[in-house]
């Protein structure tokens, strides 16, 4: 096997490479950081997010495990309580369901019970549009959203992928880091060579506008952008607010944007009912009601599992047309 080189810090960087840079750089500066998961070593990760890391850091810090998500998250939690900073990889984020108990009963409650903080990062590829079917396309953020003690981040740009992963690794609490696999090799941007983080809990305005806000995150920020381009032709100016952090989320940024635009769509890729967008909408109804000129519309996936066939999956997922339809409804409200 040819040795895969250490990534160059910064420069023209894909979303996937941004993740690899973040892990690599954090492991170089902090001996407490290690990576544990299935096929992360020999194979370099199912998507090659840890390519070259076994050769560079050795099997003591790049740990290939049996197919055991409970043991991966459990061992990471025990190590975290003992002073380490583990990164636990779920080969696909769908499999985090197997480790649900370790996260919702052990890691999340530990600090509150006086058992000490559990600074772990559990990360893995999420999301559809890649014809992965019901077990390789999920967006699990809502499963964990109702679990105090956890943090959840969901970057949508390469800059944020790197900065949020570094922030998650340095965070004192358990962070679920969700990376959309559709973005891995499809987006690229020029990253700074120097060390930086993106603070957890802060949203980013991706596009400034005055008529309508699309509150979104993850790969949906690109759908929102298509919507904005389309509506701009009709003279409608759309603001795109990329939440980036799901838990905690930037309530202030949402309210500020709505105060300006008075209309709002919440766009997310998970199923509609009980999705985190439902909480965003509820929070706005509670705290920004006076600013609103129309009902808050949610655009999300169907309340079904993620289907495999392209026709089915395309019907299932939110897209530009669905979002535009919702936008036009509230614009004429």
């Amino acid at each position: 096997m040819t040795e895969i080189q250490k990534p160059t810090a910064g420069g023209e960087t894909t979303f996937l490479e941004a993740i690899r840079q973040a892990m690599w750089e954090e492991m170089e500066v902090d001996p407490r950081v290690f990576l544990i998961g299935e096929d992360v070593g020999n194979y370099g990760g199912a998507f090659k997010t840890s390519a070259g890391m076994l050769a560079h850091f050795g099997p003591g810090r790049i740990i290939d495990t049996p197919i055991s998500e409970v043991a991966i998250v459990g061992a990471a939690s025990g190590a975290a309580l003992s002073g380490m900073r583990p990164i636990a990889e779920m080969q696909f984020i769908d499999f985090i369901a197997v480790a649900f108990n370790q996260l919702t009963n052990f890691a999340s409650k530990s600090r509150y019970r006086g058992n000490g903080g559990v600074p772990i990062v559990v990360r893995g590829p999420a999301g559809g549009g890649v014809r992965g079917g019901p077990f390789h396309s999920g967006n699990p953020e809502a499963y964990f959203f109702n679990t105090p003690g956890l943090k959840i981040v969901y970057p949508g740009t390469a800059y944020d992928a790197k900065g949020l992963l570094k922030a998650a690794i340095r965070d004192e609490d358990p962070v679920i880091y969700i990376e959309h696999k559709f973005l891995y090799r499809r987006i690229k941007e020029n990253l700074p060579a120097e060390d930086y983080t993106v603070p957890i809990g802060k949203a980013a305005i991706r596009r400034k506008g005055k008529d309508l806000t699309i509150i979104t995150y993850g790969a949906m920020i690109y759908v929102a952008d298509e919507v904005a381009e389309e509506l701009a032709k009709d003279g409608v100016s759309v603001e795109i607010l990329d939440m980036r952090s799901i838990l905690p989320f930037d309530e202030e940024a949402m309210i500020e944007s709505i105060a300006k635009t008075n209309r709002c769509i919440v766009l997310y890729e998970a199923s509609l009912t009980g999705g985190v967008g439902a909480e965003f909408a509820a929070r706005l109804a509670d705290k920004a009601f006076d600013y609103l000129d129309a009902p808050i519309k949610r655009v999300a996936s169907l309340d079904t599992p993620v289907p495999y066939s392209p026709n089915l999956e395309d019907f299932y997922r939110p897209n530009k047309d669905k979002a535009i339809k919702a936008a036009r409804e509230i614009l004429k409200y």
Partner: protein, 345 residues
């Protein structure tokens, strides 16, 4: 010779060690009796999950650890003897049971669900069973990366040995050759479910074959045998030989918790196990060794009585937490665990 003179039995434990074991056996039992009394006075708020009959294996196995060398344990609900041995204080346990604001979890969690992992060396377990196997595997995995010594011991029950978490943790720890000793307390019952409905394995130690780790089954009511078996396991772990699954066969003398009258347990079974009480057996065996006397026992009992009385008074006089304290300490950064607990006056 017309008269058989019984020669002293060599128990393989020093006089000092035997007296220490006796102290913890009796401390666990007496502390529990006081908790039951407090429960009946409604001063213990939640349930009591009795250790009665399981003090021997709890104390015996915990004695195999060397907390000064970085060893740690994760108890189950019936291992009060084990965490006392690890250094938990009776006043902490009283306060925890009574949900006091200055208890180890400040009224947030119950019973022996509290920890001092990086100090005295015990971890607070959680109620979903089996999870602590991989958590404790992670603790010793960290020690290996940190180039520190230390063996971890984790207690689970016959019921927990049916969980997926148990299998995943055992398998991972064995593959990684981690210094982990997993004690299965086979006490006959998981709530109301007898062990034969829990598994078709002949012994719970047989499950070790699936993992490829060492295993042993020992009489859980023989404190000293438990100590020696656990010591063998700890020595193997320290020597780099990896995981041991140690099954201690014992009996839960009370229901799952105080509310449970265990009517599903045949009374003759309880009677039979009563005659095998681990504390009484320890007294008999140890007196036969000739190393200690009934007088030694008596002075230990007096010491425990005084200590528990003081601890109980202190805990009873302790304040309850302020309700508004519930909102803090979920995440890092609000300083909750760094400032003194706010309590009722």
């Amino acid at each position: 010779m017309s008269e058989q003179v019984q020669s002293p039995v060599d128990l393989g434990v020093s006089r000092e060690g035997l007296l220490d074991m006796y102290y913890y056996l009796r401390l666990a039992r007496s502390l529990e009796e006081q908790l039951v009394a407090l429960f009946r006075q409604t001063k213990v708020i939640g349930g009591i999950y009795r250790c009665l009959g399981q003090e021997g294996e709890s104390v015996g196995t915990a004695f195999a650890l060397d907390f000064g060398r970085g060893d740690v344990l994760s108890p189950l609900i019936r291992n009060m003897g084990a965490i006392l041995r690890a250094g938990a204080k009776p006043v902490e346990i009283f306060r925890q049971y009574m949900s006091k604001g200055n208890g180890p979890s400040r009224g947030r969690d119950l019973n022996i669900h509290f920890q001092d992992l990086n100090g005295r060396g015990f971890m607070g377990p959680i109620s979903p069973l089996g999870d602590m196997v991989s958590v404790m595997a992670g603790v010793v995995l960290a020690r290996r990366m940190q180039k520190k010594e230390g063996v971890a011991m984790v207690y689970i029950g016959d019921g927990a040995s049916s969980t997926g978490a148990f299998y995943e943790g055992m398998n991972f720890a064995t593959v990684q050759k981690l210094p982990l000793v997993v004690i299965i307390e086979n006490n006959g019952w998981a709530y109301s479910t007898p062990t034969y409905k829990q598994t078709a394995a002949k012994t719970l130690a047989d499950k070790a074959y699936a993992f490829g780790c060492a295993s042993e089954t020992v009489d859980g009511n023989d404190t000293i045998a438990c100590y020696h078996a656990a010591k063998r396991a700890v020595d193997r772990a320290r020597a780099g030989e990896g995981v041991t699954l140690l099954e201690v066969v014992t009996f839960r003398m009370k229901g799952h918790a105080e509310h449970d009258d265990q009517s599903y347990v045949p009374p003759e079974m309880i009677e039979e196990w009563r005659s095998r009480d681990p504390v009484e057996r320890f007294e008999r065996d140890v007196l036969a060794s000739g190393l200690v006397t009934a007088e030694d026992f008596k002075s230990i009992l007096e010491r425990i009585k005084a200590e528990l009385s003081a601890a109980r008074d202190e805990a009873e006089a302790s304040p309850m937490p302020l309700g508004e304290e519930a909102q803090y300490g979920v995440y890092y950064g609000d300083g909750f665990w760094d400032r003194p607990a706010a309590t009722e006056k």
